[in-house]
Subunit: 331 residues, 4 copies
């Protein structure tokens, strides 16, 4: 069976997914929709797909599943419409920036018994997958402490910051999901120390650009997250899990593994510094997993609930940073 | 313009190139030929191409260039036929195992003024490309010494060994090309010490499985090659260039960059251990370079002459190993 | 001038310092005191020094400075006595487990105008010294975030735990000092999440064995500390400082730099797993710095105040962990 | 028992050994001799030893063993005199630059039944010791290929070159010994390609500054050596042994393990660039091994024969390079 897909949103990330679909022998991109007709037309042409309206895609009999890559404020509505249209759904994170809205949306998904996958691409990075697999195989014994370093190469434009929901909902949300993925137990408390160290304008917009977050589970497992909106040396994405019997870590990625030595020392190049390049494999594997799940039927992860839980952690972190206190998730 | 291609040979490496063509927006695989009808049909189907005979491909008006991925003993004849048919030609290494035959073949290519590229894929590996680029930019000053470690994960079957032309013509030939690519000057003498350390059967077939080769240029630049038909830890492919101002090196590749630490120490996984996986990017870039050269016109590298020169070095190495003496290339 | 030294305490760490003195051409160990006569006699013999009582050492005219390496509960009293005896003083950390007692002790030191150095050996580790030097030279711009991983190879015996003052005062205190050394600004708030994950007996003794601590300065600089009383792979001691222009990090140390590769992968040995071996160079440099400071006159670091400030942070961390809240240091 | 030592030669390397003796509880440096009275006096003073003439040291009843650290041209004579005086002998490499002279000298040593150790310090480097130990424990199976990279930070002065015996006898001789130490079988043939790439003046003196040497044993084991008199990035000292079951390698050493990352990449410092710093531990362990062997009695390595065999390889390499041919050691 070939999974027939519709793409709602022909922007940057939509294109990434279109390429992943093209490379996947089990799927076919049937139609693309976008508010900008040119964007839709261009992507449709290069993908050998049709341009249709979002309405037409949702109503189509020749489309099994949709990928929602619209602006964030349309995510929840589109999910609900697609759920009612009996399409399987892949939606980029976040479902919405508002927890209540997410809960409503997931209620619709549940009542329609729809299949929803949320785009936490990092879970599909081959390195992080291998970390998880090693944990599952017992290589490090019982998980005790998770450390995540997650720093962007540089801050996004002010305009993006404004609509982003802030550092925790926009950037750390990936790390919250990764922490949950690795901890094997839900966090019970959140502490976030957040600062404006990179760019005062970010502070003027009411946001932070640097943060350290500590999540603690009921049994005492601890996850540490270190964030910055700027890393001069590239896109810094490391994880490390300390267990009762060992430590597993995933290092950063570079374009090449060249080293140059001279009187100044030994030098390797900076890190891959763009999230789409750094996570190329992850995006491909993510879409492949979605396609496989649609074909196979059954549950799908990361689920809508994973999306919700990461957002709840983000909100708790924001409260913690603002009120300079520990936030208990049961509050 | 789209470059229209015919593929002569639907075996393992033919499939690799077909995938590279599919991923290249500037090219189209039009037809596939293979002595095994099933192989041709299968690859044609998955590539959206036609099955044609080799004769038909060479005679076709809708094909600009051919890729020769037949068994080695057909290479030279196919190159000559394609040259006469005015097709641009990509041929897997080696052109032939016999130097005289190669010279005849290249004479035909020259007289037909045909475009010929020889498949030394490693020149297109992103790491080795970057090594060459750093040298060209002066990062290490004048090249003095090149070190190449090139070890296969395990020996090929006896049957392959028999038809291979032996260690130097089959395996080291890539390293001879890489040494020439990096030295920036032609070797004047060759010394090879070769042994049977891995598998006595290889010795019984008159071949070697382990070797150390030293190439020296007229001005005294030196290249060292270390070969083995078996590396328990994966496909070992390293290069290092020592220059007057510095050293540049390219390390091996792994599937992930995970490290696991416990009481036994810190462990990373073995190397990628299959040449097609290790050189995936190189094969893709190689075919892209061929397609671009066909479209652009003008010279193309690695050329037929590069193929010849590497083979001459292989022959010299074999003579050196057999006669336990230094071989001067002007002999 | 040769600095003449008396050693108060001939235990494990006393021996380390005696060796450091022997290797230092600017100093001479004159006398050793210990409650255990045999221990004093043995160390005196191997150090070419005399056995004297602590009283005699403090009263001696031929001794310029004392090293206090007694059990912790004698530190403060010995410091006060030595200060009154006009000796320069090196004292192992901590001055005392009780902040009020430390303050009293330091008041005596101040009123006697005595020279006091506290034994935070890690400040003298060549790697960490180099990290600090790179920061001072501007290699990473303005310091923003400090990360310290500090994990012991295995938990100490229950008996030690009982008298240790607990995880924060005994172990993390070194990390608090290192954080202050690297942050370049005093912490304003402390948050500690602490657990019992390694050994339930530690919990029964009212202590923790695993912790994550976040220190935040007034200007928003952040330090993260990750502690465990057990690391299966050795004594894990890493620091990393993220600044506006770059990142500087210090990796762990091993006895050799051997790597073994085979079908299981590439393996390096575990870390040096004993603090005295890991910090051999640091102990040597620490004593050399003390001797140089005594000879030179003038201020000396880490000072008594550094000892106090680290203890205050430890107390705050303990309160934070117990009360599950953020502690403001001005409270 | 304390081994009582006399030192013949108070130069740079003599001082290194004096320090090693001072740090060794099983030995005492009794007397120092040097043609330069000031040098002898200074080292004697700092070592708490007497100044004596070489004659007096050889005749002394209170001296068990001598260390010969004179200029090279006195080595053989001093060894013979010490052998006749019934002293145990440690002599810096080489015994002499002339093979015939070495043979005569070793004949005297044998007839006097004297104990002689030759100063191939690298055999005592903790990393190389561990490589050998891993081989002995079977970690890599049967040894097949040894690779040695050995490059000095910069060329010595012309004056030194003149008296050095040339690249192979002065520098590569250490690598010949290391190759023998690791191969586990004597080389049967030698090939050396040598050039003048670093400094034309070295060529004018009749010497080489760059070389690649291949040693082959009877059973086909191969050792490769890469030499240069200049490495811009420090003192490059690496070994790698490829066996039937794995690979073991020893990496270079640095003063610290700091890494600095910024927009230019990730940078580690250059290598330790002075042989005495790089091999500090090796020199200490070497003298400790000599002292232990004197105390224990019995055989001692590296022996005079090890010194001879390395020199024979050096001579063969020189002949190979000059005559551009393979040299068989049985010639």
């Amino acid at each position: 069976m070939t999974v027939r897909l519709g793409l709602l949103g022909a922007g940057r990330i939509g294109k990434v997914h279109a390429r992943a679909i093209a490379a996947n022998p089990g799927a076919k991109l049937v139609a693309v929709a976008d508010a900008f007709a040119d964007a839709a037309a261009e992507l449709a042409a290069s993908s050998d797909a049709e341009v249709r309206s979002a309405d037409a895609i949702l109503a189509a009999g020749d489309i099994d599943a949709v990928l929602i890559t619209t602006p964030t404020d349309l995510h929840a509505t589109m999910i609900e419409r697609a759920a009612r249209a009996k399409k399987a759904i892949f939606c980029e994170k976040p479902i919405d920036l508002d927890v209540a809205r997410v809960r409503n949306c997931l209620a619709v998904v549940a009542s329609e018994n729809a299949k929803l996958m949320v785009g936490f691409n990092r879970r599909f990075d081959p390195n992080f997958v291998e970390v998880r697999r090693q944990i599952d195989e017992g290589a490090i014994g019982k998980v005790e402490m998770v450390s995540i370093v997650s720093r962007d190469p540089g801050p996004p434009p002010a305009d993006y910051i404004k609509r982003s929901g802030g550092l925790f909902r926009d950037m750390t949300i990936h790390d919250f999901d990764m922490a949950r993925f690795l901890l094997g137990e839900e966090p019970a408390t959140v502490y976030a120390s957040a600062s404006v160290l990179v760019d005062p304008e970010i502070g003027e917009l009411g946001d932070y650009d640097s943060a350290s977050v500590v999540l603690t589970t009921k049994s005492g497992r601890i996850a540490q997250i270190s964030n910055s909106r700027r890393a001069s040396y590239g896109y810094d994405q490391r994880i490390e899990v300390h267990g009762s019997k060992g430590l597993v870590s995933a290092e950063n990625l570079r374009a090449t593994n060249i080293e140059i030595a001279n009187g100044d020392g030994y030098r390797r190049e900076p890190l891959l510094n763009f999230f789409m390049t750094r996570y190329t494999e992850a995006y491909r594997a993510e879409i492949a997993a979605f396609i496989a799940a649609v074909e196979r039927g059954g549950p799908i992860t990361p689920s809508g609930d994973d999306g919700l839980k990461a957002l709840v952690l983000a909100d708790a972190a924001l409260r913690s940073a603002k009120e300079k206190r520990v936030v208990h998730l049961e509050e």
